[in-house]
Symmetry: C2
Subunit: 555 residues, 2 copies
């Protein structure tokens, strides 16, 4: 039987609520008090854009757990609208204040769990405090925005920030009949992705009628006479709109922890050990307020995600009640729906790999999400990042309309299990025509990556194809129809099926940069060429990735 | 550069076609000859039920690769309608016969790949040769059945055999307007599943208007005067119909291999080593004709699947051209759509575990396939089989309408990577409301299984709940409404939220078998009870699994 303790939890969403419920399951007789500054606990903030879009019709759906249920089922002493103002670590007490009555109280603890979450970053833009500028983190945030949307009934809205929430909100506002512009200071949307993969999303946003302003920071926000806003951009342009949503990211909420003298990390989050213990062993911290370690290299990272927050709450509870339970770090698996596109990522992107000086190779494939002969097959673009020595998976990025979530999860498990691209070749996945192919997209990605590591084919990347060296020559092996619709400047054209008969046309002293639409036919061409004594490289991902990358470079 | 060889391939579908293409990629100058007895190569036999249903409108879609394309792109010498009659292993020659002309020829080989596939099992039932009894393996099979369906335009059809193809055909014929009965000799459909999981499919088939005759073998087939069939069943009943589809399974096609004196295994398939080499080192065999080793215990198994067949073809080609490439065994991952249900399995089922005397434990969960607050969330029933010592995953079975394929593949990768149920708790999967939950169904299955192994809760199974021992008592902790709609005979009812206040009503000398609808509330009840000194067990999978199992037991 677990020891009887008094556990105090600060914050009633995700990690906090998980910790509370797990504490009760582990210790029926402990006292568990949960303080929440807001009115609501355990709400689904990931669902808020979908309520605003109308997709989730009832606001009540967002309340995953009510204070009443937490009391009746788990005997948790839930105190909403109650703020923890200060921690007295020496006495193991928190000072709390009921926001409605102003009543203050000290509450002692044996163990304290901090789950204060994160708060939206508010850049210091003049005018950012306008009542027409909204953020979206809490239920009151959502209610305010909902009221504004109901009032405005269309018109123009500007989303400041092209990350996950920004793009979900772009879709939500579009579906509510607004004209939507997205303003992003960086050169591309969704900075967790590499630019050529983000380019697919940008193209889709534009196709859906969203106005994209990249490399554009908002410098001033002005309320206009007509009850709207005018946003001045860093590039001198300006945008008028009825309302703006500020979604430029979140930062860990650490004021309470900081004031209590708990260690704060270089990335701004609360520092915890593998048992989710802060620098004070009686105090745990979980969720979006903490820095984690990255699964792949154990280095500090700030990756606020709902799944890890819930697991961390559970782990903190385990450790409070004497079970050694270890958080197994975060790999950054995330997924987002952007209109009809689905985009997923796990592990490192190229930027992180470069920053961490980890050697990597990359390949791209565009296989169909299920058997091509079964109606509705759609391509998924998969980018795989892996160790050039061992083949160990380092990261994956996926974009497509169907079946993306499945391949993301398969790759996320493969990465966590330490699998290599050679292992991906052998994965035995479920195949029936509506669900996959005998060679699943993940197998295909494995084949292509393993072919590179085994030396069956050398590859090149879009940057090289865009600026070939003097000793290099571009060779397009697509059909004449494809070639005519557009190719890489300077490319010579020989369709794959003619290649064997036209080898004499090709220079033996040059390195051939061979490409097709996706990288498959050019791989076959490279196999022929290299066996015939030519020096060649396959453009991985083909013209499709080249276009994405070149578009990205032009921006 | 790979050595120049003459490679002869027998069979032009799946494994054979994969081997041929890979051989060409590895050796531009080798001679590659592919013999196919039928008219077509590389056709999608997994797609045939969907063409018959009308889902795949065009028959041409089923031809993944044409002989012309194999010639022009890969320079494969494709000889359709040509049968390999005999192998002269000493001279390394095959004797072939062109079926149209009768012309015979000897063709020498350096390496021979056998990919003859499997053939439908035809039980020796009197009348089975009737022209109104169809099998479905080849394109001509399909064409014959298609013509019959066009002719009959409805009426009654009987499917003999309740496996994957039988059930896909049941759906196809239903959608073509036929009244459909499925006759299965075993007590349940889909014998790769355990009976209580198959019960969900049986229930769904009946709900879709399919007549199910389980434990019923067909003993005689008679053509009736009116141009139909009458099927006499082993139980004395009879069924009239316009046509019957025989789908009782397949057996490896080994006549050529046998005649050549190659080793045939105890399961009837060609014996191969890990490089796909038969007992003659110059002869390889791949696909549905070979016995494989099971991934989990290395023992011989006959698991005909398209994915493995393709991989084996590739591996045979690698080894022919001097690369040591090893087939990493088969784990039996398969998936099937049955009307709106999707059913998946990977690894061992209980029957295999028992036969192999491998100790196991099992749990069931029924989580929603994505966030409950996002519209359209549907439950998935997951059964996990795992080692009671190490927690290592031994098998999984899944049934649901949405998101089943994803969790199957996640579990298939986890099983292949040797993960334990403890690892499943930590998997970091993609979460956004349309795709999953912060605690994904696979995490949930991991939590529940790990809770058992950590001793947080003891469990019991439906068999025990159906026949409690004298010292045991059933406790239903669901709501009054649920209890009234039906419970396990003899159960005492105390709703979970009342339990803490009514502990005095429970006997301390008895072992309580606690249940709710799914196993979640009863787990919470068990945590309370065990900490209060009661002896209790949680019925894993709850009343939902109990009903499925009890129904199964009653059949």
């Amino acid at each position: 039987m677990a020891e009887k303790k008094r556990v105090v939890i600060v914050g009633g969403v995700a990690g906090g609520a998980s910790a509370a419920a797990r504490c009760r399951r582990l210790s029926e007789d402990s006292e568990i008090v949960m303080f929440e500054r807001g009115e609501y606990i355990s709400f689904a903030n990931c669902g808020m854009p979908y309520h605003l879009s109308g997709g989730i019709a009832s606001r009540d759906e967002l309340f995953v757990q009510s204070p009443e249920r937490m009391r009746s089922r788990f005997r948790i002493d839930v105190r909403t609208l109650t703020e923890v103002k200060r921690i007295d670590r020496e006495r193991r007490e928190v000072f709390v204040r009921e926001l409605k009555t102003g009543r203050e109280e000290r509450v002692g603890y044996d163990a304290l769990v901090l789950s204060p979450g994160a708060e939206p970053i508010k850049p210091r833009i003049p005018g950012v405090e306008s009542s027409r500028v909204f953020t979206l983190r809490t239920i009151p945030d959502m209610d305010r925005l909902q009221a504004a949307l109901d009032r405005e009934k269309g018109g123009r809205a500007v989303i400041i920030g092209g990350g996950y929430i920004g793009l979900e909100m772009a879709e939500a506002l579009k579906s509510r009949g607004f004209e939507v512009a997205v303003v992003e200071a960086l050169p591309g949307v969704m900075s967790t992705l590499d630019p050529e993969m983000a380019a697919f999303i940008e193209e889709h946003l534009v196709a859906k009628g969203v106005e994209l302003r990249l490399k554009s920071a908002v410098s001033v926000i002005r309320e206009t006479g007509e009850g709207g806003l005018e946003l001045e951009l860093s590039n001198g342009q300006s945008l008028k709109c009825g309302l703006a949503v500020l979604a430029v990211g979140v930062k860990p909420e650490v004021s309470l922890a900081k004031e209590a003298g708990l260690a704060i990390g270089g990335l701004g989050g609360i520092v915890v050990d593998e048992q989710m213990r802060t620098s004070d062993p009686a105090i745990y911290a979980v969720g979006d307020a903490v820095e984690v370690r990255h699964f792949l290299d154990g280095k500090a990272a700030y990756i606020p995600l709902a799944g890890p927050a819930n697991r961390q709450g559970r782990i903190a509870a385990d450790n409070i009640f004497g079970r050694k339970s270890v958080y197994q770090n975060t790999q950054g698996t995330s997924i987002c729906k952007v209109f009809e596109l689905v985009v997923g990522i796990t592990g490192f992107n190229e930027k992180s790999l470069k920053a961490r000086k980890i050697p990597y190779e990359k390949i791209y494939v565009h296989p169909l999400h299920h058997a091509g002969y079964y109606p509705g097959a759609e391509p998924i673009t998969i980018k795989l990042l892996f160790s050039p020595e061992s083949g160990k998976l380092l990261g994956a990025q996926l974009v497509g309309t169907q079946g993306v979530d499945k391949r993301l999860d398969v790759l996320a498990v493969a990465l966590r299990a330490g699998l290599t691209v050679f292992d991906l070749e052998h994965l035995e996945l479920g195949y029936a025509p509506p669900y996959g192919s005998a060679k699943d997209p993940v197998n295909m990605a494995g084949f292509v990556a393993a072919n590179v590591l085994r030396g069956d084919v050398k590859i090149c990347h879009s940057e090289q194809a865009l600026s070939p060296l003097p000793g290099q020559m571009l060779l397009d092996v697509r059909t004449s129809g494809e070639f005519k619709r557009g190719t890489i400047p300077g490319a010579v054209h020989i369709p794959l099926d003619d290649l064997r008969d036209r080898l004499s046309e090709l220079p033996r002293e040059k390195e051939l940069l061979v490409f097709c639409q996706t990288g498959l036919r050019s791989y076959l061409a490279c196999r022929i060429l290299s066996q015939k004594g030519f020096n060649c490289r396959n453009l991985t991902g083909g013209y499709k990735i080249f276009q994405a990358a070149a578009g990205g470079l032009k921006k």
